[in-house]
């Protein structure tokens, strides 16, 4: 327990405050002597006693002494040597019947070693491959002593350089020999038939025919021979074989073998190939600009880590969704699944000792460790769900437990475009109607455009006619008659009683009937924004709370040079409701361009809270038809109490 207690302070120091609030430091042993990577870690209830064990395919300190280790809690339970370096470890259920303890599979060299109850159970070997006929021929000649070792070496080297089919192990070992050793080697091996066998590069599991958590699973192998093999869970026969353009190094599978499945293989050529159940060859291809360092599927998103210190998200059809940059090289990746909260996220172990946890491209959490992180595994360990196992470059083992109350929230400060940009809009599905419409548009596009243009012209014509009619009957505050280019602007205002009280209610006149009664906003709008040069304009404004309002008219002669004389202003209003000191007055001479404010008070007589319109007419002496007119929508008097 000493190790565990000392770790609390050790790793506690190396952690950010935020992270330490989410994780409990269960164990830290910097000298655990575990050297592995994520694909060689697996968690399972191997003994069926409810206590989950950790399986480690250990490479040994310098890749020298590979071992299979099984850990219980912080201690190594069993340890056994392996014949070759491990490539991957997986646990899976082989058969339906009880007891349902999972079997352990360890891929190493050309073989998969299967253990049940931690006892060797089965050894699967990759099938022999046909040797290169030229190579075969050379060895046949050697057998009959028709060729000397030196020529043999030259010929084999020639084959190695050019041939499609790689050389056998025997030939490769021969090529490594010194001149002196060749003779003996040839005489020793010449009578053996040459064998060619590839090695396993990666392994994963695929449910056979049920989606259940504890369903029987097949092993899926990737080989140096650029192939993918699916093995039967019980008989270990090859159920399916698929070929790839390059050597697979990471696999992600979803679905069930008998129903439908999707397989993503990240390959050494920097591409990720996506295959389906019925495809013997890749269906989609993701081209990375660098080598992949990890592949994790989060729900439907494939997350690939690349040597360019970045994580990329892709759809299962290979469409790129996002990229996030890491602060250091990614050494390993794995899935974090918090079942109780339905969360899936990607963990990336970095060379700077950080473990970064991402949900899509949002950073959820950063754990700092004292050394570069070489492998990660999250799941049920011992009796605790949500346990994180981290191994570091120096052989250290760190075990952290996610707190029961911990919730990952997407922290702010995510670099890149705002999250809204990445948000998917819920665009409704294309309806039948939409499709029909689109087809119709495609076929009858020209006719539709013509109809639209005709309607548009008709509309413009009608608008122009209405405008002309309005001008002719002077129903507007802008006069465009050549002789009287005028502009009127009216403001009504309640004289401010208190100094400093600057609340003004301004009613713009133009849209008199619909003017929104915005109290605070000074809703002032000028009339005649599309005035002709020579026009005249009228704007009216009402200010005040009532019962006395101030009405201001702004009258402008908009002609370039000619002054106007002899105009009259007349107010038409309901005399029961309003009283104006002067309902009719003369306008002084209007100099071109200047705006003349004409003020008058309006007394609201009604205490019923009703309002009416006041009409303003600008007339020319001796003419009955007004030049300009405006309807002023008077506000309701609110100053009754005060008055």
């Amino acid at each position: 327990m000493a190790a565990a207690s000392s770790s609390d302070s050790d790793s506690g120091r190396a952690e950010s405050n935020e992270a330490s609030s989410k994780w409990l430091d269960a164990h830290y042993d910097p000298m655990a002597n575990i050297h592995t990577f994520s694909s060689c870690l697996a968690l399972a209830d191997l003994h069926g006693d409810g206590e989950y064990k950790l399986v480690v395919g250990d490479l040994g300190p310098s890749g020298q002494h590979p071992r299979l280790k099984v850990l219980k809690g912080p201690t190594v339970l069993t340890e056994s040597p392996l014949p070759a370096l491990p490539a991957a470890a997986a646990t899976f259920l082989m058969e339906q019947h009880e007891p349902r303890t999972p079997a352990l599979a360890l891929a190493s060299g050309p073989c998969v070693y299967v253990y049940k109850n931690l006892r060797p159970y089965f050894k699967f070997s990759l099938p022999q491959l046909p040797p290169n006929p030229l190579e075969q021929d050379l060895w046949n000649q050697a057998k009959e002593d028709r060729i000397d070792p030196l020529t043999l070496k030259e010929m084999l080297e020639g084959i190695r350089e050019k041939a499609e089919v790689p050389l056998s192990v025997q030939s490769l070992r021969f090529l490594q020999l010194e001149l002196s050793e060749m003779e003996a080697f040839v005489s020793q091996h010449k009578s053996r038939s040459i064998k060619r066998q590839t090695v396993i590069t990666t392994m994963t599991t695929l449910k056979k025919n049920l989606a259940d958590e504890d369903a029987v699973s097949c092993l899926v192998l990737g080989t140096e021979n650029k192939e993918l093999l699916v093995l039967d869970p019980e008989a270990f026969t090859i159920l399916a074989k698929m070929s790839l353009p390059s050597v697979p190094v990471f696999l992600e599978v979803s679905g069930q073998f008998d129903v439908e499945f999707r397989l993503a293989a990240a390959c050494r050529n920097g591409n990720v190939y996506i295959l389906r159940r019925d495809s013997k060859h890749p269906k989609y291809c993701i081209e990375l600009s660098a080598q992949p360092v990890g592949l994790v599927r989060v729900h439907k998103v494939l997350v690939v880590g690349s040597t360019q210190e970045s994580l990329h998200g892709f759809t299962h059809k290979g469409k790129k969704l996002w990229t996030v940059q890491m602060p250091a090289a990614i050494l390993t990746m794995n899935l974090l699944e918090q079942r109780s909260r339905g969360l899936q996220a990607v963990m990336a172990g970095l060379a700077n000792g950080e473990v970064r946890i991402y949900h899509d491209k949002a950073l959820l959490n950063v754990i700092r460790t004292p050394d570069a992180v070489t492998s990660l595994c999250f799941g049920r360990y011992g009796r605790e769900d949500n346990t994180l196992i981290i191994t570091t470059r120096g052989g250290g083992l760190i075990i952290k437990i996610l707190k029961r109350t911990a919730v990952f929230v997407e922290a702010g400060g995510v670099v890149g475009p705002p999250p809204a940009q990445a948000m998917k809009l819920s665009v409704p599905r294309k309806t039948r109607l939409y499709v029909d419409q689109t087809l119709r548009e495609r076929e009858a596009g020209t006719a539709m455009h013509r109809t639209f243009q005709t309607d548009l012209y008709l509309l413009r014509l009608q608008a122009a006619r209405a405008y002309v009619r309005a001008l002719e009957s002077s129903l507007n505050p802008v006069s465009v008659m050549a002789r009287e280019p005028l502009k009127l602007h009216a403001v009504a205002q309640k004289p401010s009683r208190r100094v400093g009280h600057t609340l003004q209610l301004l009613w713009p006149v133009p849209c008199l009937r619909q003017a929104p009664r915005s109290r605070a906003g000074h809703a002032r709008s000028r009339l005649g924004t599309f005035l002709p040069r020579t026009g005249g304009a009228l704007t009216a404004m009402v200010q005040g709370l009532g019962p006395t309002f101030k009405l201001t008219l702004h009258l402008q002669n908009t002609s370039a040079a000619r002054p106007i004389l002899g105009l009259l202003v007349c107010f038409l209003y309901n005399e029961v409701l309003y009283a104006l000191p002067r309902a009719f007055f003369k306008v002084p001479l209007l100099v071109p361009g200047l705006i003349y404010p004409l003020e008058t008070f309006v007394e609201s007589l009604s205490d019923k809270g009703i309002s009416d319109i006041i009409k303003v007419l600008v007339l020319r002496e001796g003419q009955s038809a007004p030049l300009l007119s405006a309807h002023i929508n008077m506000p309701v008097s609110e100053g009754l109490a005060a008055a």
Binding site: M1, L24, P74, G382, I399, R404
Partner: protein, 186 residues
């Protein structure tokens, strides 16, 4: 408490009732301990993981205990706090052999001690450092160190090493609990 009750209590006719909460992580041995404390004819033969909680009764020399045996599984642990108000004493069980989860036990204990229904009460807490028979088990002293029990200043507490299967250490704990409860009552 009525005079009659007290009289019968003194005479040992009717024992005082106390409500005890039995808490701790799953698999620590709570159900096994309570089962062992029951009269031998009421003990069940095999213990299965508790779902939710179960209510058990047993008697000591002068008290009648009603124990809420809470499930320790992660998904049920948030049920605990609903019973804090009713509890007059707490039995907290630790699997001394589960070294990895000692931090989890500490975390749950700290959460318990900081709960408003517990924080300001002088509620006695009895710790069982259980499964001391197992090879991996650490001593009760080590358990109390790992859980930082010395920081509990405002509540009476006591730790006993126990082996619930053989029943060792249980009586010592229950005697302590009984003393504490009677000290509070009188």
């Amino acid at each position: 408490m009525g005079l009659l009750d007290r009289l019968s209590g003194l005479l040992g006719l009717k024992k005082k009732e106390v409500h005890v909460l039995c808490l701790g992580l799953d698999n620590s041995g709570k159900t096994t301990i309570i089962n062992k404390l029951k009269p031998s004819n009421a003990q069940s033969q095999d213990i299965v993981p508790t779902i939710g909680f179960s209510i058990e009764k047993f008697k000591s020399s002068s008290l009648s205990f009603t124990v809420f045996d809470m499930s320790g599984q992660g998904r049920y642990r948030n049920l605990w706090e609903h019973y804090y108000k009713e509890g007059q004493a707490i039995i907290f069980v630790i699997d001394s052999s589960d070294r990895l989860r000692m931090v989890v036990a500490k975390e749950e204990l700290d959460t318990l001690l900081n709960h408003p229904d517990i924080k300001h009460r002088r509620i006695p807490i009895l710790f069982f450092a259980n499964k001391m028979d197992l090879r991996d088990a650490v001593t009760s002293v080590k358990v109390s160190q790992l859980l930082c029990l010395e920081n509990i200043k405002d509540k009476p507490w006591h730790i006993c090493a126990s082996d619930a299967i053989k029943g060792e250490g249980l009586q010592e704990g229950v005697d302590w609990l009984q003393d504490q409860i009677q000290a509070v009552k009188t």
